[in-house]
Symmetry: C2
Subunit: 369 residues, 2 copies
């Protein structure tokens, strides 16, 4: 009987995620499965909460991984907070801001949006003006917009929101583990991320963190959370407290992987990891310039881990990506939405952000373009 897994080769993952996974993370996932109520496993859960709190710079008790991918993290944050008719403001400058709008609208929120040109950041003054006009229950923004490579001014938006009463909800899918997130200092109430970007763990989990104020908002809902699987009022009782009430069976081996991925970041040192991302980003953008390939985003708001580059004139978008994959075993990403066919997205996320990968990609690009 043919086993299709036999043909899996190691690919250098330089797209928008998943990123390259360290062997020790894969080995962690292959450890023996424990029961989800085994005291040993509970101790791993507790250690993991501490790891995430350390890296997010928060005291939030509710800091846990959700049992789904990053998009399940987005769903969790909105579905627990939104009740029908709640006013929500979403700042949009890419695919993932649009996804937030779609998620919140489906849940019955009264959604307003402020839109900004793709490839440019959110303009703080426009947000300020809007906040002077209307009160919101939630204001949401993507920290690192994976579809464009833009970093949005999260600390500045957080400062605006202080004393407005709005909950500040941030998408950190691509930023977490690759650049500083100072959750409490920046006034973030709710954050979600994914494992397959700068944490360099395979996809499948979504770290989230809720401030006490956000937890209070969930607990004081008038209606039940309209999603049993992601209902934090029940999930909390499995991740906290003495009894650890069963809700759903935790994805044990995925959680081993996330623990190990977080362990590697903490072992290398948070600042060292961020510096490594930045240094390799500069190495890449310098090298691309030498090849005559230009970045989409202005240096002032460029993400280190997601490099959007304009496809050079005459180059065949799909053909180049396919040749990189087939002939060089390197994956890069295509553009999305209005940027499809116009950009490539080159990821330098987590374990992928190494000079040898940058150099290999640059030399491969030379041969395939």
């Amino acid at each position: 009987m043919e086993n299709v897994l036999n043909g899996i080769e190691e690919i250098t993952l330089m797209g928008p995620g998943p990123s390259c996974v360290h062997r020790s993370v894969l080995d962690a996932m292959a450890k023996s499965t424990l029961g989800h109520l085994d005291p040993k496993f509970i101790s791993i859960m507790d250690a993991m909460k501490d790891q995430m709190k350390t890296l997010l710079h928060t005291d939030n008790k509710l800091t846990i991984p959700v049992s789904g991918t990053g998009s399940a993290g987005m769903e969790t944050c909105f579905v627990n907070l939104i009740e029908k008719g709640d006013p929500v403001l979403i700042l949009i400058n890419g695919v993932f801001g649009m996804r937030m709008e779609d998620v919140a609208t489906r849940l019955g929120a009264d959604v307003d949006t402020l839109e900004f040109e793709w490839g440019t950041p959110v303009i703080v003054d426009r947000v300020k003006t809007r906040l002077a006009e209307k009160s919101y229950k939630i204001v949401a923004v993507v920290h690192a917009e994976t579809s464009t490579g833009v970093m949005n001014p999260v600390p500045e938006i957080g400062a605006l929101l202080k004393d407005t009463g709005a909950l500040f909800l941030v998408d950190a899918v691509t930023s977490f583990g690759g650049m500083k997130i100072d959750l409490d200092a920046w006034g973030i109430d709710v954050i979600y991320s994914g494992t397959q970007k700068c944490l360099s763990c395979p996809p499948g989990l979504a770290p989230i963190s809720f401030s006490d104020r956000a937890v209070e908002a969930v607990k004081s809902r008038k209606t039940k959370v309209p999603n049993w699987y992601l209902d934090l009022t029940m999930i909390i009782n499995y991740w906290e407290g003495a009894t650890r009430a069963y809700h759903h069976t935790a994805p044990i081996n995925m959680l081993y992987g996330l623990y190990q991925a977080l362990y590697l970041v903490l072992e290398e040192g948070e600042e060292n990891v961020y510096r490594r991302h930045m240094e390799n980003h500069l190495r890449l953008s310098d090298g691309l310039k030498d090849l005559g390939i230009n970045m989409l985003v202005d240096p002032s708001c460029r993400l280190p881990m997601l490099n959007s580059v304009r496809i050079p004139e005459g180059a065949d978008d799909a053909g180049v990506r396919s040749a990189l994959l087939k002939d060089h075993r390197i994956e890069i990403g295509a553009g999305l939405g209005p940027l499809a066919g116009k950009i490539w997205r080159i990821g330098l996320m987590g374990h992928t952000a190494r000079p040898e990968n940058v150099d290999r990609l640059l030399s491969a690009l030379k041969t395939v373009i």
Copy 2:
């Protein structure tokens, strides 16, 4: 820096799931992560759909794993089908039937229930009477009720539903991979399962299958699915067709594990696997009888993979389970709901269902009770 993963020991998982995982499944999960749009990965997805269709005995095109645990499978089935006010009948004789009621109610369905004594099966005649009184969009039942060890008469209920127009929705979390499921012949329209029971893969994925009639019902909704993450109208476009539109990043390495787990079942032979479950169940129930421990459920509807046994008089529920875990590295499960403190749940699921495990448990029970 202390690494808490170092202390993980191999436990023989004889509870209600997760079950013991074959080394080759763990090794599969530790293979290099591929991109979720890599042609090689797409070929693994396609092969996996075929494996599931073979084991479920269905031609359903929409037969895929959902990116969450078994409970996410339940959520997926209900959230895609239910619109506000839809009449739903749920047959309840345990925790997981109750969970169905909770999920469907949160989604705004008009839920009726028929309840049956825990530890006994659904009575088909009562269902028949109800169906003569009222029409339903969905009739839902749990095939193998993990909380009690009862097998419900799914084929008989399916036969009743023919020509009523109702969609037949079945929870196969605990049955799939441990006993025959003849999806098309039994008239099942919608089914969900989990990976951590008789498929013996770690928890984290939920195989589902929708008949063409059920897909039609999803596609002809008047309102959008109120759950972006689990919206099958979009997920279908990633799992089917030529373009494979990105929806959310698939949990790549978990999917490797599921492929390998399904491979093992098909390699051993479906009938052989079911026979192994039944033989070990009989070996266990015989051995327990010799120890003076009685089964909760009548032999006519006992599940082979989930054995509910009455806690012998004078035995310390938690103490025995804890001693089994600490001194013998065997995990068994506690009772849930009204059966808490009254029963233990002994799983013989998938790779766990081996004579050496049964014998080891029986001899351990002798020493700890």
